[in-house]
Amino acid sequence: MKQLKRFVRRLTWWTRTGRDEERLRAEIEAHIALQTEDNLRAGLAPNEARRQAVLKFGAVEAMKEDYRDQRGLPFAEAVLRDMRYALRRLRRNPGFTVAVVLTLALGIGATTSIFTLVHAVLMKSLPVADPSELYRVGKEARCCYFGGYSQENELSIFSYELYKHFRDNTQSFAELAAFQASESLMGVRRSGTTEAAQGYPGEFVSGNYFTMFGIRAYAGRLLTARDDQPGAPPVAVMSYRLWQQRYGSDPSLIGAVFTLDNKPYTVVGITPPGFYGDKLRANPPDFFVPLATEPLTGAAGDINQPDQHWLDLIGRIRPGAKPASIEAEMRVELKQWLRSHWGEMSANDRAKFPEQTLFLRPGGSGITSMREEYEHWLQILMVVSAFVLLIVCANVANLMLVRGLERRREISLSMALGAQRRRLMSQALTESLSLALAGGAAGVGIAFAGTGLILHLVFPRVAGLAGVPISASPSPPVLLFAFGVSFIAGLGFGIAPAWMATRVDPIEALRGASRSTTRTASLARKMLVVFQAALSLALLVASGLLTAALHNLQHQNFGFARARRTIIRIDASLVAYPMGQLTTLYQRIQDSLSSVPGVSHVAICQYSPLGVNNWGASVWIDGRPAPGPNDDDSASWDRVTAGYFKAIGTPLMAGRGISRDDTATSQHVAVINEAFAHKFFNHEHPIGKYFAQIGMGTSHEYEVVGIVQDARYFDDFSKPLGPMFFLPEAQHDLLPKTGMDINPGSHNLHDIVIVTRQGAGISGARIRQAMASVDANLPIISIQPLEVQVAGNFRQERLIAQLTSSFGLLSLVLASIGLYGVTAYNVGRRTTEMGVRLALGATPAQVAALIVRGAFVLVGIGLVIGFPLALVAGQFLGSQLYGLNPYDPVVILLAVLTLGITALVASIVPALRASLISPSEALRAE
């Protein structure tokens, strides 16, 4: 305590050096004056009186020195002095300094850049008021629609009615807001202009959405509860981003009318800059519109269906409210609500009623779907970049050791002259830390560029839309991280060399070039090279495994053809195309595109393989009892036009495909895949059998007319191909009693598949022209080769493989520099020995081999150590990436070979130099 107080005083005193010097001078003067007066009184002559007084006071300078030591912070002053000294020395050796700073910058930059992503995706809260007060109902991020009155494990997605039930009954929430779980585009056009509708991400939110987040409008006003009522004039809030980028911050936009999905909305305000909604996502919403206006836009009217769950809930709890008790309260409310719908519940739902529950979780980060998606990859990248940093540190430590060796004479001389070892060590450490901090500063720059590049690769910009709201520029936590890493790195690579450099005997300076104690340093350098080789092997193997796995993933047989296929994505719902005209529209599109030269086939489907989505259904096979609560009756399905299987290149195994004869009035048919046949028909022959979707009230709906080969539609590559069925576009799933279409949205076909003839190319302009001749207003979302669409599924994997490969390459280069350094140094040290060997009859080749052998022993030991490390890394990666074989012998062999060849290259130059030593000169030099 006393020490602390003293330290604080010292700190404050240290900052006012000048005034204290003045005080001391005044005190000394007063002291001597008083003494002089006494001396005068004692009868001394004036001159003598003063002289005696000064004498008695003692050595003023020594006292002042002592006083200063007491007063200031000698430690801090020493650090500053060491710092100046270190900088002076580093300036004197610019080549070394630049090399070290650059190497460090690469290592620290790599780590910091990955940390920037880790921080943004895994740690950061939403930019809203007091995120710690926010709680989300639900644990998992579940997308996007869920029907019925039961959910697996927990309820995490809610219907509008259930939301209102919670909102009105849970008093401990200051605000409980609901918003759309899915990410969707809205067709947007400013009223009164002739421009074509453009797709922007939009989101239905409850009226208290912004109040709940504590967000204020940048301009105009945000939504209120009054906007979110049936019959309220439809209003929308626009993102700051869109307002600024597309409309140049035009203030007249507030109050302007926009059509969103063909319905008029008045824009009443602009969100504040930086606000990106309720979750981190690739394209944040540009429009926020009240939930109550949802029936206006789509035909669906999800808002009125109590069993249609499509909303996420986040609430701000009242100060002092206990989340645990709110959770308990809401569970009771959930049961109450479910009971009130007992009559509408299916037998399945009733059976699952007892286990229905929900969880309240901190919601300050919003809906964390991106976190769930990227968590593992980011962890892998963090480990990989830490490896790179270790290799970098080893390399720099190696350079520092050489530097220490060069300075031995100087250091032993200093010690002979009385310098303390502690002081010399702290000087050496200060030098390391200065280098590390300089490297860190440069590393932040590299991290900025690197993060930008990674973001660009993972989240490619879509023209006109907002990009992912992750900033590459370093935030304070990132800067702190970079500083911490630099500091630790500086200690890491600095301490051993500093200790070794100062472990010299002062007598050495006098003795001359002694080599008695250099052995430890040489051993340390060899160990560092071994360490680097081991880590490099692990990284090389890891990158090899990832690259091989990615290659296998991408080039596996997906059950459809990729070559010569182009996918045009359209969205007729953005312009609210009338349902009755869709079949004609699709036929006209097919005809128009087929007439483009070079095009051999055209077909349209709801979702093309490995695209964005697919619908699921529960299947009831005709002639069997309806499936019970525990029966697995799920299959996914797709709606397609005639000629689809030929266009997508999936072979027909039996029966026929969908044809133009399957019309609205003909028998409803389905084509199933092999997995469907196996799962539902097992040993029976499926063709001619009937089935239906649960909820149709019959099992006699679709006649199976054909079987196609299994093909991969979902990106769940680790799972076997699932059962699928395909329905004709022209036929509607109508309920027998009411004639209501139960799947109207499935007729909004998204993907046009175009097959071009061998050798023929087709331009985007031609496609657009052909599309415009059908309907100029139909928004085209994208045109891309099917190959690119498939590759898009592996964007993360590719990024990881590429990053790990570049990190592996970097580590290889660093390790070979280290090996070269050690080998060259050893050759220099053993010049005499080599000379003697040559003089005694060794051939130059033998001498060269001796040197190369020495290098290979180091690399060999590194391999032995690195091998288990590589296996562990492979095991871990194998658990993360489907299709990765951790024991791939080709990859391991290639990695070992690469390392071996690099070692050979790194050691051959010093070896050649050794073989060219002239014996006579070598002996004379001694």
């Binding site: 006393k2 005190e27 008083l34």
Partner: protein, 118 residues
């Protein structure tokens, strides 16, 4: 830390105690007054190096045992006056006790002749 430093530490430690006691007895006093008092009582301890007193005073001030301010000396000279703080008084008491105990033990050691203890 060398031999010289250790001696200085001992001297400073003793000096600090003397300074505290002086301020306790005489009340607020300037550096010269303290030096003269110590000189009178301890003989030649400060006869030569009166300046060494100032680092000690500073250390005591940093520790909070004394406080200082400018004032006028008896013959109207501007001098810095030091006074004991409450904490200083406590420290003096504690150190006096320590000192008495140590002195008593040492004294006993010197009083005991070989053969007295079996």
């Amino acid at each position: 830390m060398g031999e010289k430093n250790r001696k200085k530490d001992v001297l400073q430690g003793t000096l600090a105690l003397m300074v505290l006691k002086t301020l306790d007895v005489l009340g607020p006093m300037h550096g010269y007054g303290i030096a003269r008092r110590i000189e009178q009582i301890s003989g030649d301890l400060l006869a030569v190096n009166q300046g060494t007193l100032y680092p000690v005073l500073l250390k005591l001030e940093q520790e909070g045992s004394v406080a200082s301010e400018w004032g006028a000396s008896e013959n109207n000279r501007r001098a810095r006056f030091y006074r004991l703080t409450r904490q200083g008084r406590k420290q003096l008491q504690a150190e006096k006790q320590d000192w008495d105990e140590t002195a008593a033990i040492i004294a006993r050691f010197f009083a005991v002749r070989a053969g007295d203890v079996k």
